[in-house]
């Protein structure tokens, strides 16, 4: 069971001796919307399928998973990434959380400060002069930054 939060729910149910008929139990997931949940379920199913197909060959599993992840990223909009990360975090789905964090990290890799602000929907809230000081301190990192 990849969704550890759901698994925990089932374990708790068993402990309380309540009937845990998997097909009929309703599990409340208040912090997850339907759209990211659907994507996570698809991701999970694909992950398990690839793993089952290439049981012995770990490299093959990784390669296929990478290909699937690349395709998935093309379909997912950057703004959905937050929701996906939050959903994966809530469900305690480690592989998906790992993947989406990687996706965000590569999206902001080697980008300018303005791009990072735009990506996260931020405004500069530094005091007067503080930002200049920081820019000076990190001047070494701004050479070779990608164009926005």
């Amino acid at each position: 069971m990849k969704f550890c939060a759901v698994k925990q729910y089932f374990d708790d149910e068993n402990n309380n001796n309540i009937t845990s008929g998997a097909s009929t139990t309703m599990i409340p997931l208040p912090n997850v919307e339907s759209h990211p949940l659907a994507i996570l379920i698809t991701y999970c199913k694909k992950h398990l399928k690839i793993k089952a197909n290439n049981a012995d060959n770990k490299k093959e599993t990784e390669k296929e998973m990478e290909q699937y992840e690349q395709e998935l990223l093309k379909k997912v909009m950057p703004q959905e990434l937050t929701e996906l990360i939050l959903a994966a975090n809530y469900l305690n789905f480690k592989e998906a959380l790992d993947f989406f964090c990687r996706a965000v990290a590569s999206a902001i890799q080697n980008k300018s400060i303005e791009f990072v602000r735009k990506f996260f929907g931020l405004e500069s809230d530094f005091e007067l002069g503080e930002e200049e000081k920081l820019r000076e301190e990190f001047a070494w990192s701004f050479e070779g930054v990608d164009e926005d």
């Binding site: 990360i85 400060i113 990072v116 996260f120 500069s124 530094f126 301190e137 070494w140 050479e143 070779g144």
Partner: protein
Amino acid sequence: MEHHMCHLKELSRDILADIFVRTDGSTLASAACACCELHDVARDQSLWRQLCQATWPSTALEEAQHVISSSPIGGFDKFYAYSYPLILHAKGTKPMPFKCPELKTHVSPSELASLVDVYYRKECVLSKVLDGIPEAMNFSHAKDSEYNWNMNSNDCWRWYSNCPFKLELLSLDYDKFTGFYNELSYANNENDNHCHGLDANDEGRGFPSTSGVDDENLRHDYSMELMESLRLSWVLLDKKNGRSVNLSSWKPLLVQKTWPFHGVYLIHFGSIVAVEESLLPHKLSKCIIIVRCKMTEGEGCPKWMEISMQMEDLTGASVSGSKGLMVLNHALNCLQSSNHLEVEQGFHQYEKKRREMMKKKQFRETLIDSFCVTIEITVLVVFCYYFFSF
């Protein structure tokens, strides 16, 4: 606009840290300058420590932990900021004024530490930490005790400061008598990677084997491969002032096969340091990191024979030990750049300047020679004239 972009406020610090741990230094820097909250997350020392250890595995070694934590460097972010860019030699660069408070008139060898990492095919194959400069400090600290010098530290320092500057990280001595390669000195050699220097008795007696198969291996030229796959980082840390600098050029400046030991390659890395005229004429010094290694077919990575640092000035003459330490001091406060292209151009400029200088020198010498020859001929002619006229 509400759902347009990733909403930062919804992401907890743990998740942000999870994202940032997968980025590099420049991304962390951009994030730190974006807003207060990202600044707090991106300034987390554990992120920078992980980044430093990933970039320079030598910083993960125990000796390095001790050396870095005992210096006033102020955190792994500062260490990364000082050590990541390379020394830049640009046209018109002026050396830092001597009265600058960070520059001292005397640098003690024990205040410096070197963290060296060698990468082959994008994997780190050798990491070493060298605390101080053993040859300049107390000679009895050196592992080579067979000579039994019994020098005190004053004599040692006097000897070191007048000899050409040399900082040895790793060297294997070729014992001429038995023909075996013996390990002579190995700075801080705990926890080595498997790809370190030649083992004793590796080569058997005398020169490398001359069997048919080995001949072919030795004839194959690995120079191009070494040029493309070998990378070196030599971070010098000033423990007293908490500054560091990367003295290497990252990519090799020179790769050549040494003769007559086929299969042994000499590789140079280095940087150009601007100094004052009072220290060195021509105001430039080249810090060269010499790597000697053996390449054989079928081996995963090169076998290291020597890794050391030397210095020379623009004319190619060696710099003495005491001046070399001053050059290192200047290097710690040099102009830096993360743009490797600019750094390479700096090297080309230096080489060009050097060639021009050598040409001028040669021209001057030719002129003086011809002048002397002319005078000699004139004297001879005059002498003959008077001799034969009487």
